[in-house]
């Protein structure tokens, strides 16, 4: 298993390297010069060809692409000094560049925004697992009954609403129309500065939106996996042994049904950690997702590059974790 994890980590690093190259090339060979956005910004949209040439030269965009990519990689490991026109910016390792808008090292802002995104992701995922899995189990045990059918169709209805619309409606009704006090001030407030209560109330509505929406999906996954598990031969064996219904359903049924649910969850959670753009934007949470959105709108290339790389890293790690957990849950799976 250890050898397997090492092997996967090495291949993960290779994937990250390829992703970084791909992103780099996309910008380099994009429709306009990679220096165009910063030139526009610095000259208040009066970027003449002469000025553009200055930015291109100082940022190194007139060098061959491999040379600049080499500098980028060097910066990641040992830091570098980035020159933009006449100013110089120190960028310590691991350097992911300097934001065109704030002129701050990208890495520092990325780290500062992680707690917000992670809070949203962990709270939302906790809620949808907490409700989705037990409701799915209960529905599977009552499959075919009126209660099961009502639940499945109403959950299907909710999950067929686009998530951004669902989240927006949640915010509109609970915060604006009905002015529910606990939902009144959404956003991320760090526990250290504002205390846990403020942190909790700020994020609560985002968690509820993510939780309800995810719960409908996890109920369906769990129900499907449970229905399948409960029809297996080993469930009949468990019954024939004289085990109580609870043991049969949870110890024998749910144990088997959890494997596919955990697999889906691993990937989902990775996606959440990489940035929840809609949730962060709608509930005004200053996380990585919102940051990425702003960067795209402001053509802040180093930030876009960093957020894309970050989500690649998170997804690679969560995929690896899913495979490792899978082998722990199912003894038949050999990692090699």
């Amino acid at each position: 298993m250890f050898a397997y994890v090492v092997k996967r980590l090495i291949s993960g690093v290779l994937v990250v390297a390829l992703v970084s190259m791909a992103i780099f090339l996309l910008f380099w060979y994009g429709p306009s010069s990679p220096a165009q956005p910063i030139c526009d910004r610095e000259t208040s949209n009066r970027c003449t060809p002469e000025r553009l040439e200055v930015y291109e030269r100082t940022l190194g965009y007139d060098n061959p692409v491999y040379e600049e990519y080499g500098k980028f990689v060097e910066g990641v490991f040992s830091g570098r000094t980035i020159t933009i026109a006449s100013s110089e910016y120190e960028c310590a390792a691991p350097c992911l560049g300097v934001s065109f808008r704030t002129k701050q090292p990208v890495k520092e802002e990325l780290v500062s925004r992680m707690p917000a995104t992670f809070s949203v992701a962990i709270g939302g995922a906790f809620l949808y697992l907490l409700f989705g899995v037990p409701i799915g189990v209960a529905a599977a045990r009552r499959r075919g009954t009126v209660a099961d059918k009502a639940l499945v169709s109403s959950f299907l209805f909710i999950s067929s609403i686009p998530y951004y619309l669902f989240a927006l409606l949640t915010w509109l009704y609970l915060t604006i129309t009905f002015e529910v006090p606990i939902f009144s001030d959404t956003g991320y407030f760090s526990i250290g500065e504002n205390g846990p209560f403020k942190w909790f109330t700020g994020l609560f509505l985002a968690w509820v939106a993510l939780g309800i929406f995810g719960c409908t999906q996890y109920t369906r996954f769990t129900r499907g996996a449970m229905v399948e598990a409960l029809s297996e031969d080993y469930i009949r064996t468990a019954k024939a042994k004289g085990l109580p219904a609870r043991t049969i359903v949870y110890k024998h049924g749910l144990r088997a049904a959890l494997v596919p649910v955990v697999t889906i969850f691993g990937i989902d959670f990775g996606t959440l950690l990489a940035g929840t753009i809609f949730t962060e934007r709608i509930f005004e949470i200053q996380g990585i997702g919102w940051w990425a959105l702003e960067a795209v709108q402001g053509r802040d290339l180093p930030v876009v590059q960093a957020t894309a790389l970050f989500s690649a890293v998170v997804l690679i790690i969560s995929n690896l974790l899913v495979d490792v957990i899978y082998s722990v849950l199912d003894p038949r799976v050999r990692l090699s």
């Binding site: 019954k239 024939a240 004289g242």
Partner: protein, 368 residues
């Protein structure tokens, strides 16, 4: 419904154990509602098994063999299966018995082993853990260590080498034959008086089949339990069974001792089963004689005798009796214990003149 005091029911069980068969099934009927209407999978089924005896139940897929045994174990979903008639296990009526009391019998007084042990054992738990669980659920005062010792002892008893090590293996680490042995060990761990083996050797290699059958016979002698063996393999019946019940379309069509069924069968369906057994000693050119057609739909069973659409001897019965009237289960000519459900006026003659020459001409010469 008030619950019967424990002392009374165990007294009844003790009484039944001393006189009469351990398992007594009477007029059993099992119906499943489906979208196309109710399906009667078993009806009018009666049989009994004494301790130390083996009953073989034979029939094609869908003939109701497994459904009737699952009813004995109470394994049908009570919400969907409608069960009527009487099933008495050790004197206790189990039709309509509460789930909690049924649970006390299942795996304890009666146990079942299944066809495909790989699917029937939980893939995520160690063999030992599954055996221990079966033991502990009926021995609430036993410790985990007792259960483990018992599990190792049972694995040893069913012939698993190095049981103290193999107890910590997962089912997928066992071979097919060993898995079935583990399954048997799990079935017998609580010393049940009734063991139902549902096609225990179907998924196994022929050589392993013989070992498993030997093991079952040994264990039966040792535990003196009543055994029901469900199979479609007449070889298994010949090896194992004292009595044989032939089922077709949910009904018993012939019942008798193994000798009666194998040497003087009187029902064309049984003849068909015997004819379709390949004979190792005959020449390789000899053709197998299959039963024509398919088992009938239980949703719309044919009128009269369910077997008549496939029966090649129906023309020997006067009029359209076969297609209009269900034959009664009546004593056959070879003895009172031998029952058959057929309209044929002289089955012995038909068997001798038409069936035996085809399937075993050498036997014919011996009897003449």
């Amino acid at each position: 419904m008030t619950s019967v005091p424990v002392t009374q029911s165990s007294a009844a069980a003790a009484a039944a154990e001393t006189d009469g068969p351990f398992l007594q099934v009477e007029d059993l009927k099992v119906t499943f509602p489906t979208e196309d209407g109710p399906v009667t999978a078993v009806q009018g089924l009666s049989y009994s098994v004494e301790k130390g005896k083996t009953l073989g139940i034979v029939g094609e897929s869908g003939s109701g063999k497994s459904v009737s045994s699952m009813a004995v174990m109470g394994l049908h979903d009570t919400k969907s299966a409608q069960i009527s008639g009487s099933i008495r296990v050790g004197g206790t009526e189990v039709v309509g018995l509460s789930e909690s009391r049924m649970r006390g019998l299942r795996g304890n007084a009666m146990a079942m082993i299944f066809q495909d042990a790989l699917a029937a054992l939980h893939p995520f738990y160690k063999i030992g853990a599954q055996l221990e669980e079966a033991y502990l659920v009926h021995h609430s005062s036993a410790s985990k260590r007792d259960a483990r010792r018992k599990a190792i002892e049972m694995l040893d008893r069913v012939g698993i080498p190095q049981p103290d090590r193999r107890v910590d293996d997962f089912p997928h680490q066992f071979s097919g034959g060993m898995r079935q042995r583990a399954m048997i060990a799990m079935g017998l761990i609580n010393d049940p008086s009734l063991l139902i083996a549902d096609e225990p050797t179907t998924a196994l290699d022929v050589t392993v089949q013989a070992q498993i059958l030997d093991l079952l016979q040994d264990l039966q002698r040792e535990f003196n339990s009543a055994v029901i063996i469900i199979t479609h393999d007449l070889g298994v019946i010949a090896e194992m069974a004292d009595d044989v019940l032939v089922m077709y379309a949910g009904r018993c069509v012939e019942f008798g001792t193994t000798k009666q069924i194998l040497t003087t069968p009187e029902m064309p369906y049984t003849w068909g089963l015997l004819s379709s057994v390949p004979d190792v000693s005959s020449s390789t050119d000899a053709r197998l004689i299959p039963i024509p057609g398919n088992p009938p739909s239980l949703l719309r069973p044919p009128p009269g005798c369910s077997f008549h659409p496939r029966c090649v001897h129906a023309d020997k019965v006067a009029g359209d009796l076969c297609s209009t009237q269900l034959p009664e289960l009546l004593p056959a000519s070879s003895g009172t214990a031998h029952l058959k459900r057929c309209h044929l006026p002289d089955p012995v003659a038909v068997y001798h003149d038409e069936v035996l020459p085809e399937i075993a001409p050498e036997l014919l010469e011996e009897t003449r």
